[in-house]
Amino acid sequence: MTLLSLHDLSMRFPTPEGRETLALCDISLSIGKGELVAIVGPSGCGKTTLLSILAGFQRQSSGQALLNGRPIAGPGRDRGIVFQQGALFEWMSVARNVDFGPRMGGAPRASREALVRRLLAQVGLQGYADKAVWQLSGGMQQRVALARCLAGDPDLILMDEPLGALDALTREKMQSLVLDLWQDTGKTIILITHSVDEALLLGERLIVMAPRPGRILQDLRLPFARMAAGGDLRAVKQSRAFQSRREEILSTIWGLEEEIMGRPEAAE
C-alpha cells in the first residue's frame, strides 16, 4: 500500500549570482507502508532538500508530494523527524523530551508516563527518565531522539544523518537499534546517510541520488536489512554479497564525484 508518492518534484534555488540551481529535478517516487528506504549520494545531490520538503519545512517549486493521498503542506505529527545530534531540548529532562509531542497535544499525565516508560525501554534507556539530556553520551542522546520521534506515533519517520556524529562502535549499535525498531513497530522510515555501508545495511530499499541537477540515479531492493534485523549485523557486513554491492555503489558515487570535479563550473 502506498504511503508516500512524489510526482515530478522539483526544487529551484536562486544563486547569489542571480542564476538558479536545480536542487531537485523531476523526482518521482512511491514508497509503501513499512518500507525502510535509505537515500545515499554525494553532497549537493539534494537529499537533505528532499527530506526537508517531505517534512514540510520547505515547499517544492513544482510537482506534487502526497502523504496518504493528501498533499504535504507544512510540518505535522504524521511525520516524525530524527536529526543529527543537537536537536534535543537540553533544558528538559529525558522524559520531558520524549513526551514533548503528546504533552503539547494535551495528553493526560498518566498516559504520558506509561508512554515514556515503554519508549525508554524500547530504546534501551530504562532508568534515565529524570536525567538531563546533556548528561548523556552522544549515542544515548540519539536514543532519546528516536524515542521522542516514536512518541508521536507518526506514519513516516524521516531520519537526517541520525548517526552521522557517532563513533564507529556506537554507530553499529545504533544501526541494529534502528533495525529492531523498524521490525518491532513496522513504521515506514526514510533515512539519509553519507555512509554507503549504513545505507546498504539499513536500506531495504536503497536510493542513490546524483547531483547537478539532483535526481534519482538508482533505486534498488536489498536483502541485507532483513538479514541483519534480529541477526548478526557484523556477519552481514562481512558477507561476499554485501561487499560486492558496496564496491558497486561506491564506484558509482566515486564516478559522480569525479564527474563534478571535472566540470568547470564546479571550480567557481
Partner: protein, 402 residues
Amino acid sequence: MIVLLTYLGLFLGSWSVLRLLSPRKPRPVFGDIAAIRPNRWAQLLSIIAVLAIWGGFTGSRLVPLHVPGPFLGQTGFDYGTNGPDGAAEGRVTIIVHRPEDKPDPLSLPVGKTVFATPAWRSTLIRPTDKDTPGTQIVTVEGLPISPGQSAPVPHGHVVLTPKGALSFTPDPGWQMEPIWLPAPEAVAARFWEIARNGYQNTALWEHLGYSLLRVLAGLVLGALVGIPLGYAMALSGWFRGWFDPIVEFMRPVPPLALIPLIIIWFGIWESGKIVLLFLAALWIMVIAARSGASAVRLSKVHAAYSLGASRMQVLRHILIPNSLPEIFTGLRVALGVCWGTVVAAELVAAEKGAGMMILVASKFQLTDIVVMGIILIGIIGYAIDILMRWAEARLVPWKGRG
C-alpha cells in the same frame, strides 16, 4: 613612583620565591590556554601585597614593615641676627606632632622660642618679632641665608621669606598623609562608626540599599521592556527593521553621557535616576534577548513543529528556554553597568546612596569615608556578580551544552 616600584618588587619577589619553594610540576605546553588555572598562592599573595603596600605607606599598625614616616617629636635650630643692636644668636625649638593630636601644652610652653606644627605642614617662625625693629635673620645653623633661600636644618628645612620670617617644613618621610590615604585600620574604624551611627542622618545600609534599589528598579524595567522587544526583533523582520537603527544607535552611547539630558527632562530626583538605569539596562537586554532567540538551532524548532507544537508552544517551550543562558549573561552585564551608572548618577545629585556618600565625604576631605565607600561599592559589585553566576549555574545548567 616608589609605590609602583615596591609593588613590582613584591610581584617579582613572591613569584621567584614561590617558584623556588613549590615542587616542580609538569607545566602545560606554552600556548595551551585551556590548561591555565589561576595560581592559588598568587591570588592570596596579591591581596596581601595590596594590603601590605597600603599599610606600609600609611604607617598602619597592622603591618610590621613601614617606609620611613614623617618626623615626629622635638627638634630645633640655631640662627643668627644682625640689626641696630648688633649681631646676636638664638635658638628655636619646634615640636612636630601628629595632625590629629594637639601638642601637650604642659611639656613645653609654646612661646617666643618654642613652636608647634603638625607633621607634613610648614609653619612660620618669627623669632625676631620682639626684637628692635630692623633686626634681620642672617644665618641659620651657622650658614648665611638671604631672603628666598632655603637651608637644611635637623629634621626639616627652612626658607627665609622676603619679610624676614622663617618657614619651617618638617621632614615628610615617605608615608602618605591621612588626608590623601588613611591607614587601613582608620578606614575600618570609620566603617564601624558609620555602620553604627550612619552618615548624613542616614544609616549605611540605607545608603547602599538605596543604590541597590535603584539598580534593581532600572534593571527590572529594562528587562520587562527589553526582553519582549528583543524577542520581537528576533522573530519579526518588521520589528527588526524598525528598532534596529534605534538600538544600534543607542547601544554605544554610554549611559553617563545621558545624565545631563535626563536631568533636564526628569530632574535630579528618583525618577530621573531610574530612567537613566532603565536606559542603561534596556539596550543590553534587547540585544541579549535578540541574540539568544536568534541563536536557536533550526533543527530544534523543526523538531518541535513536527511533534505537533503550535507557534505559541514553540515560543514558550523552545525559543524562550533556549535564550535563557544569553539573557542571564545580559542580566549580569546589565547589573554591572547599572551599578557603575548609579554611583555616577548619585555623584551628580542625591540625598541618599553610595555615590552621594563618597561625594559628600570628599568635599569635607574625609578620605577615610571615600576609601571605605569605594571598597564597599567594589565588594557589592563583586558580590552581585558572584550571585548571578551562582544563580546561572542553578537555573540554566544546560548553558553551552546544546
